[in-house]
Amino acid sequence: MKLRVAAPFALVACACLLATACGGSGNSDENGLSGRIEADGSSTVGPLTSYAAEAFQKLHSGVQVTVGISGTGGGFERFCSGETDLSNASRPIEADEEAACRKAGIEYVELQIANDALSVVVNTGNDWATCLTVDQLKQIWEPGSKIERWKELDASFPDDDLVLFGPGTDSGTFDFFTKEVVGDEGASRSDYQASENDNVLVNGVKGQKGALGYFGFSYYDQNRSGLKALAIDSGGGCVGPSVETAQDGTYTPLSRPLLVYAKRTAFERPEVQAFLRYLVDESRAIAAATLFVPLTDEQLTAARKRLEDT
């Protein structure tokens, strides 16, 4: 009796599983390109690589690309144990990671494929602040900072609460911001609202008049109706974040490179070469589509040269 009950369910279940088992096996196309490319690393750079993968796979249906987001550090760990072909990174490789790669005999090439303009944003109801100096930012964010109200920063500002939003301490964005603004990687006050998820930060800043937060340019760009980006004065006048200012270098110091590291042994495979070539050649279109800042002319030439030299 039990068998009669279970049998039809089991049959249906088996049928479902068998149907899905016919996973794409990647038959090669006319160009003869086939194979699997594995990328992992930063969750910031991930969307870039995924977009490139999607477009590339349309042209070469025999190639299968997978992209993971174990984080820049996690990506390097896998990369330097030979598990992945490409590593996405929102910061350059560090000394101990380099040592690990050397120890494992992994040689690699570093390619810059885009820029990011880290934006400092406030609520649109904030009509008093339009430009802050790097020094003012440092006063707000340095460890032990006691600034709780806007007036304390500048006497001409109103007496509104200063509510801070930012990424978690484990993110590359945090490392980069603290290094550039405060001077030391990891040096920051700890009483701010932190989140892994940039959308949450966006909502946070949108929801409070005196809010101030920092995150990647794409999140500001998609939410211009509720956010206002502050211009940064690092000594040469107030410059706001935009594609142009990030490219011509006037938006400093919050412009950061987004990198892809490729294993030299992977390079010997034609499909990896083709993908990397695609990534670099089309980097401008890719960055524009994924709302990052495209490479400048020099950066593009440098990347192309790196590729040729490999």
Binding site: G73, G74, F76, R91, G168, D184, G186, S190, Q193, A194
Partner: protein
């Protein structure tokens, strides 16, 4: 009980000897199943212990366990785990405030008051709540519950322990309710009939007869619920915040041990550094705490369990 361990009677069949061998084989097979959970624990301890020990070689255990400043990835770094402990405690307490009474209440209703037809519909509907991904609960806490709490006048921050705890409690209601309800349904009907025969009201039957008889299953459901509350990651990561501060005020953002492990584990911290090893130190602390708590709870259950025939 002697009868449970009764050896098979010497039935005069030709297959008697084979049956005995079969019995031993079956016992071995079942023992192997049990071994899986032992191996899991061994694996967890091994995976956590080595990096944790490396961590404790650099940071003293006393500083770690008694320090009240948790800032491992800041410059300068502090490694006092107490804020994380208190954060976990805060969220767990609020989760239990929701899931235990409401879970038990739902169970009593489903088992003693609802018609069998209603129960057949309501119980699976409640279990659907258990299937909603924790990511969804996290965003629900952040985008629905926190504004709601603000609307009713509680001045909560955008990330706070209260929203996360309440939503976690609701998520755990099906766990507590379903298991408790199974336990109560299994109480023999003659027990209820006896009580009714003596003139008890439904309330009295439910609370004085059925619940005590089912207390083993009910407490097991509580323990499972509390365990899951302590170990829950996603809801707290999204809604409770990543601000490790030592406070008992549920309206402010805190960080739980699990949120720290998840955020740092998936983040950009380079592997092999002391900052990365904090994950394992916190992990093994969590493991040790729940182990002690569970040993207590098992002893407690054993004392209160009643066996009805």
């Amino acid at each position: 009980m002697a009868t449970r361990e009764a050896t098979a009677p010497r039935a005069p069949t030709l297959r008697a000897s084979r049956r005995y061998v079969g019995e031993t084989l079956i016992k071995a097979a079942l023992g192997l199943c049990a071994l899986v959970s032992i191996l899991t624990t061994v694996g967890i301890v091994v995976a956590l212990l080595e990096p944790a020990l490396e961590f404790f070689r650099e940071i003293s255990v006393i500083d770690f366990l008694t320090g009240t400043n948790w800032a491992p990835l800041f410059e300068p770094a502090h490694f006092g785990v107490v804020p994380l402990l208190v954060g976990t405690l805060l969220v767990t307490v609020w989760a239990c405030i929701v899931c235990i009474p409401f879970g038990l209440g739902s169970a009593i209703y489903l088992s003693e008051y609802a018609r069998p037809g209603t129960r057949k519909v309501l119980k699976p509907a409640l279990e659907l709540l258990a299937g909603i991904p924790t990511v969804v609960f996290g965003y629900f806490a952040l985008t629905f519950v926190t504004p709601l709490l603000r609307d009713i006048g509680l001045n909560v921050e955008i990330f706070n322990a209260l929203s996360a705890g309440l939503v976690m409690g609701v998520m755990l209601i099906p766990t507590v309710a379903s298991l408790s309800e199974d336990a109560m349904t299994a109480v023999p009907q003659n027990l209820r009939d006896g009580a009714y025969a003596l003139g008890a009201t439904r309330l009295q039957v439910a609370t004085r007869t059925v619940v005590p008889a089912a207390v083993s299953g009910i407490v097991a459901s509580f323990v499972l619920g509390i365990s899951r509350a302590v170990g829950e990651t996603m809801i707290v990561l999204i809604a409770a915040g990543q601000q490790p501060q030592l406070t008992f005020d549920p309206r402010v953002g805190i960080e739980t041990m699990t949120a720290f492990i998840a955020a740092t584990g998936a983040g950009d911290v380079p592997r092999g550094t002391i900052e990365y090893k904090t994950i394992f130190a916190v992990g093994i602390t969590l493991f040790a705490i729940t182990l002690v708590l569970n040993m207590f709870s098992i002893r407690l259950v054993r004392r209160f369990r009643e066996v009805y025939e």
